[in-house]
């Protein structure tokens, strides 16, 4: 096309701009689609398990996760309904693709299951049962019970002692000790 005359140049530029504007939304839509996370394999769910100091699992496909929810323990599998739960001190079990079962003791935190079989688990600390000292748990449990009994009811000291009692009791139960 002859774009030497000013009018022709203006018209060509207008067409170019219109064409670019028509293409841009489609291009950005395609680009946006590219940013979507890949769906986990059929029958598996994607797990993100993070501590503040360390990432334990980043977008790993697993069969299921058993979460120690504060209002009850539940297992998350592929296509689970979205759910957000606070976790209580207890055992978190990951059932891997190859059938292996991995257990962590968590002190608290949250588990968020999203649409599309992705679960985010965040907690301040997660340890293997082998790393917990049973003697220390029993000792701390007894000390915490004594503190809770002697503290003023409803005070912060009493609450802190109760937290210690609860956490040590959960650790003892996880280890299979009789905690009373």
């Amino acid at each position: 096309a002859n774009v030497s005359t000013p009018t022709a140049k203006r018209i060509t530029t207008m067409f170019a701009q219109l064409a670019r504007r028509a293409v841009r939304p489609a291009a950005t839509a395609a680009a946006r689609r590219q940013f979507a996370d890949a769906a986990p394999a059929a029958g598996l769910m994607k797990l993100n398990f993070n501590l503040p100091q360390e990432t334990l699992y980043d977008a790993v496909n697993v069969k299921s996760v058993v979460v120690p929810g504060a209002t009850g323990e539940y297992e998350v599998t592929a296509d689970h309904v979205p759910i957000v739960a606070e976790m209580k001190a207890g055992m978190l079990t990951i059932n891997h693709e190859d059938g292996e079962e991995e257990k962590y003791f968590v002190a608290g935190g949250f588990s968020l299951t999203h649409e599309g079989s992705t679960t985010d688990i965040v907690c301040p600390e997660a340890v293997k049962l082998d790393d917990i000292d049973a003697a220390a748990v029993t000792k701390n449990f007894e000390a915490a019970k004594a503190k809770a009994a002697s503290a003023e009811a409803g005070s912060i000291e009493a609450a802190e002692a109760m937290i210690e009692v609860e956490t040590n009791k959960a650790m003892g139960n996880a280890l299979g000790l009789a905690m009373a």
Binding site: P52, Q53, A89, F105, A107, G108, G109, P124, E125, V127, K128, D130, D131, I132, D133, A136, V137, N140, A144, G154, S155, I156, A158, A159, E160, M162, I163, E164, E166, T167, N168, M171
Partner: protein, 70 residues
């Protein structure tokens, strides 16, 4: 605000304080070497500096928050 139902909330302890305390309990009951590694997460310190005329004074290491206001 809904009525608090957990014992810690009723005593005036926030969720973050609650979960931090539970985590400390967990770390205190670990075996070596996991314990030393976990305890590094617990270390913290405070710096205190006094502001005057819109200028921040020199920062000094403080032992505890309770001593800061004095």
């Amino acid at each position: 605000m809904t009525t608090p139902t957990t014992f810690w909330r009723l005593a005036g302890v926030s969720y973050v304080q609650y979960v931090t305390k539970a985590t400390s309990c967990l770390r205190a009951a670990l075996k070596e070497p996991a314990k030393s590694k976990a305890m590094t997460q617990e270390t913290f310190s405070y710096n205190k500096s006094v502001w005057s005329n819109g200028e921040q004074g020199a920062k000094k290491l403080t032992d505890s928050l309770a001593a800061v206001g004095k």
